[in-house]
Symmetry: D2
Subunit: 413 residues, 4 copies
């Protein structure tokens, strides 16, 4: 197939192999994939950390979305090899579309991951932005991404292709759990992506796991749950992320009032404009493609000297890692507990009461370990399928389908 | 303290450091410990594999009880360091006793682990034999093992000392799960011994785990359960182990009838004598200390040519890894299913019907993931203790307290 | 000792343990060390990558100077434990000074490591700046860093204390080689820090290696050499670093002419002022302490739109990873080879000839694998010392004492 | 191709995937390979440790020749994939022959590796025995091993096929260095098999390494050298191996005199018969195929009680790990040094002077790190080949071509 030709001696200057501390070597399968990786949109992911401020808790966690996406592509290569070995037919075109779809599945993520979505880029999800990027790239690459986009949107009739990109056991999760566990040093979150992939199969066009992989799936679910509560929802990380959201919200508030703020042109654009899903133009996409962790953190560093007390105080706390205190519990906090903290804070920081919400706030978090609406299917030897929650002989996975809810409150020390 | 002097330049010929693929380096803390390790009783453990015939399934699993015991000692050093850092007082004498107790906790294990207990060394458990060894060594070492024995027997008033040796989260398990997972390559069984030890504390003289270790404990329980079903109770391993028991039973039967059998003197002793708890003398102990995997497997190899058809057939099947077929299920097998298999086998192998039970047999296995009678206690920040099964916010560990029962049947292919 | 009290239950909010993907857990030994780590000067290291632009080649290499410094402290704890076990006396005060000295040994490094030293912060080395930071901190901490400074300056009469901080086998190298190898995924550069430390001893106040560690030292030297040529001096990394130097030089040129440049206040300070060793005041130090990778890279991103053609072109090339071509060889390049490239470049990029040196330049690099002036000493069993280059039985380490020189030239594709 | 059909659903009972602690999963490529692995000749390798008595020094080193052979097959799969990617044509038949040849390359190894060759199976090398096994298997498998045998014998015109099986950088070494380093815990011997394989290519039908792999080859040679001196020729290991040779020699001496010895029938055969290359019949091969570590060690255990003082003393020393003392140095030992030790030993052990050579003996060992007669060839970008010893820019690999010679003497403590 012409357009997917292999990277051979003909293209000696094209990078063929990447080192990965986790998988050893990662091979770039062909020149189209290579060119997509080289595109500035994709290179931007080098400047966005996968885990945002988690490095304040786990100093090893500085890995980037770039590396994660490349890792996903590697696991996809393995998955395709396994499925073909089991005589699932996957065409070369589908293969390539899977690589593209998984490489680009997170390309719409903003700087510091989710923080932007809750502050300055509202009303449009990162998935929607990913789709915009993919469509733009599809134009540049003369339609070669069409099938990838169909799969990314979940519209391909062969469901397993879509499930490899997005499901409870997709290649994305197989990489990020492994990768985040590796870089944080939380070895308990480590999963055996290799074994899970080796157990994959396809039945009735659905992605399924063979029965002897049942303990591996259980283990995967438990490891994921552990990673959520111990890492992704770690108290210090939560504080830092919320403080980041607040400092950006404050900046936007000031921008709306016309106050001048140090900001790169990309950040300036999103601070001073009201972007919604409706007015998210090609130009907006271009500006978005310039925005990364460096814009945000360098601005915050500068804001430490801003005359606005709320902005500068929050900024200093973040930069010097003097974070708010956090309390977390199973039940909600009473309103007067918060109001008292706010009063105290107003005095202590010499700010108005209606500004204390930047420093004193509560929130509810919730996590579902297993979503029974989109079950992980187990294939037994007789070819029958069963929801893992029912196939498991003991673990009472049913319990994992209930969301766990916790509440936290933050306030100055 | 004289008797526990460090291994220093004075004793340059004494081995100080051992390589361990898992922990890097293991230090032998003093000369008493060194001398115990050098004792022939302990050196015997070099010739007993930790996982018996599991290497027929997992070819990497050839690690020995010797290495496991040494690994336990290493983890005990870590545990003591952590507890002392948390201001739990542990005297030098107690420290040493803990090393001795954990080194020797399994010294009474027979060749091929549990197989002997079910065939030629009946009526006495390996724990009882361990105790006999410890008492004998205590004589040789002039009473220096007295405290270790008290701890091993669970009789020390400071309960946590005993719990470090034997409990649901003892140092034994912390090593063997990690080690077995490592050598089998079943990475999913890997546990973070380091983190679990870092979370240890003592409250009311009980060994407890600090609250932020709760996910690690859950993970540990799930990993252990996975190891049981995927490794320790792996179908092929079960078949091989039961065939081993049967070949030894048959040999004993023949020995009782006076049939001559190739056997080392140690094996000969246990085949031709009826050993019970009552007549297990010092001499028996000495013979037991000569018996290891090499006696058993070299005899079986020789028995492949024995004239007894049952003995030689079983032996050949083991040596050449032509194992019986196994079926496993949640419900018991009907009696006539077995009797039909037995009829068929009698004809096929040309043996008497009353000999078919060596080739056709069923069995029930059962495993409890968490024993709520001896709970793992979680210590919260206010200093209160809670059973992990109740402290866990979701996992429904309660479900893990119910035994999982399965049935299997073996018969010739 | 009051001032070095352990981090115990009294200070429950002080972070005690850090995760490290390489070593597992790292313990912070006491509150003084903790407070130094918390200081904004030290926290700055979180925002400086250890390997600068090497992540353009090895996407996993995003680890920070913060993590490296902490890792060094961990290895220092091990080294002290080993040496004390071998009856080398090290006082509590010396122990603490070693922790401080190793934590701070690199605190004077600028953003993107060495790039600053060759562009905007001239005439003063990072070691000198480290010393300034240490003296400033010593004031803040009431003289508690005095001994650490003496050791850092190499002025302590017990030479081994200084050698642990700086020598051919110091703790710094033991961590960075291991860490850089780990994060790049270049497993061949991995060294056994544990074994090298286990082989350390002190003789005549010199840090020495016991004879049976000789192969480990050889291996260490070879691994280091491999890391230099394969990683630190990797062609793509060299190009990127030199382009970074050039873009900063150009910016400084423009600044000197009064051209306006987007820059954070810290970067602005160093672009628009002429800083030398002589006028490096406390205020300069304060500004330096604000400058990190985020200032540099966010400025370069913005400069991609600057009207100066040289500045914007270089910036775009860096941000989008469209790097110059590089050729490397053992011999120097002839002058006319370069001048031809420059002519071509002037035309292609539409810039003046005297500006082409930003895009076309050659350089000589040189690396010595083993410096025989400060030999690594091997201690044999009779207590005699020998230079490793002579103690090695075959490897001809002598050859490693000669510098390897290479030349490279860069120019636009 | 019929005879090499993949292991698919049709053969559900055939083992498809093996766990390996080093590589994760190893796939068995087809049913022919599967059947060879299942053959009793090959299964015997499960009972022969790869490193003989090295586990007396490195307690983790209990891995078997079985596992090593399987590991080689896995690396061969990788090598073939890499070479084909680089457009080296390898037919399906050649591929299969490579798997067979590498699986069986060591099948002629005796129990405890080299010890047998120097004691009871003289005058025929293990390579010659391997060939006998392969020819026998070729009959059983109807000629399907013919091409494999040709490659194993080095007779295939495409030299690189033979070099993959046997050369200075063959797949055998790539596995055993990695595996032995892994199981001993001597991490410094670890090599990057993956990278070396990734750098393989074929030029003029020779196996070559691409230029950018040069540092990896250097590192490989140094790691190998380190493994030899630190592990394979470790003093304690040398003592134990020589004692093993001596105990077998003594047994053979006694057997020749008609003294009765406990021995399995296979061991009996080789003790009481004089086997030479000339009378090594099919029957001899069959007996050889029964002989493994278990025969040897269980006999030695029994011999601890033999009336022959030399035999029993040596046996006890081995079993209880009370080994002889060893001295090693660069120069030969003077004759009178030995004769004095022998006199002393005769008295101490109450044996005749002409029996002391079993306890007091000296030996010369020699190792060449790099054999320039069969150079490792480096392929530069212009397609030219160079011996690595000349291509390396500094390391003076020339020095590695000289054999290092050492002398050791053993005697009772």
């Amino acid at each position: 197939m012409d357009k997917f030709q292999l990277l051979k001696n003909k293209t000696p200057n094209k990078l063929k192999i990447l080192n990965d501390p986790i998988y050893g070597f990662i091979q770039i399968p062909n020149t189209l994939i290579f060119d997509i990786i080289e595109h500035p949109y994709f290179q931007r992911l080098r400047r966005i950390m996968q885990m945002g401020f988690s490095n304040l808790v786990y100093p090893g966690a500085n890995h980037t979305r770039f590396h994660h996406a490349i890792g996903c592509m590697h696991l996809m290569q393995k998955a395709i090899r396994v499925l073909r070995f089991k005589q699932v037919s996957i065409s070369d075109e589908e293969e390539n579309a899977l690589y593209i779809a998984i490489l680009l599945h997170d390309i719409g993520h903003g700087a510091f991951s989710h923080a932007l979505e809750h502050s300055i880029v509202n009303g449009i999800s990162h998935e929607e932005i990913s789709l915009k990027f993919m469509k733009k790239l599809n134009e540049e690459f003369n339609g070669q991404l069409t099938l990838a986009i169909q799969i990314f949107e979940g519209k391909n009739p062969r469901k397993f292709l879509c499930q490899l990109i997005s499901s409870q056991l997709d290649v994305d999760r197989l990489d990020y759990l492994k990768r985040d566990s590796f870089y944080t040093g939380v070895t308990e979150g480590n999963i055996s992506s290799d074994r899970l992939i080796a157990m994959m199969n396809v039945k009735n066009d659905e992605l399924v796991i063979e029965k002897k992989g049942i303990y591996s799936v259980e283990k995967f679910l438990i490891a994921r749950r552990l990673m959520y509560w111990q890492v992704y929802l770690h108290k210090t990380g939560l504080v830092a992320e919320n403080m980041l959201v607040n400092v950006l919200k404050r900046a936007k508030e000031l921008a709306e009032k016309g106050v001048e703020l140090y900001a790169s042109s990309a950040l300036h654009y999103f601070l001073y404009k009201q972007i919604t899903k409706e007015n998210f133009t090609v130009n907006t996409l271009e500006m978005f493609s310039k925005l990364d962790d460096y814009d945000i953190l360098s601005a915050i560093k500068e804001w430490t000297n801003h005359q606005d007390r709320v902005l500068s105080t929050l900024s200093k706390m973040i930069v010097n890692r003097k974070l708010l205190r956090i309390e977390m519990q199973k039940n909600d906090f009473p309103d007067n507990y918060i109001s008292k903290k706010q009063e105290k804070t107003a005095k202590k920081l010499k700010i108005a009461e209606n500004e204390t919400h930047f420093f004193v706030f509560k929130q509810q978090i919730s996590h579902i370990a297993y979503n029974f609406n989109k079950p992980i299917l187990i294939l037994n030897k007789k070819g029958k399928l069963k929801d893992i929650a029912k196939a498991s002989d003991q673990l009472n996975l049913q319990a994992l389908t209930k969301p766990v809810v916790k509440y936290f409150i933050c306030y100055p020390k």
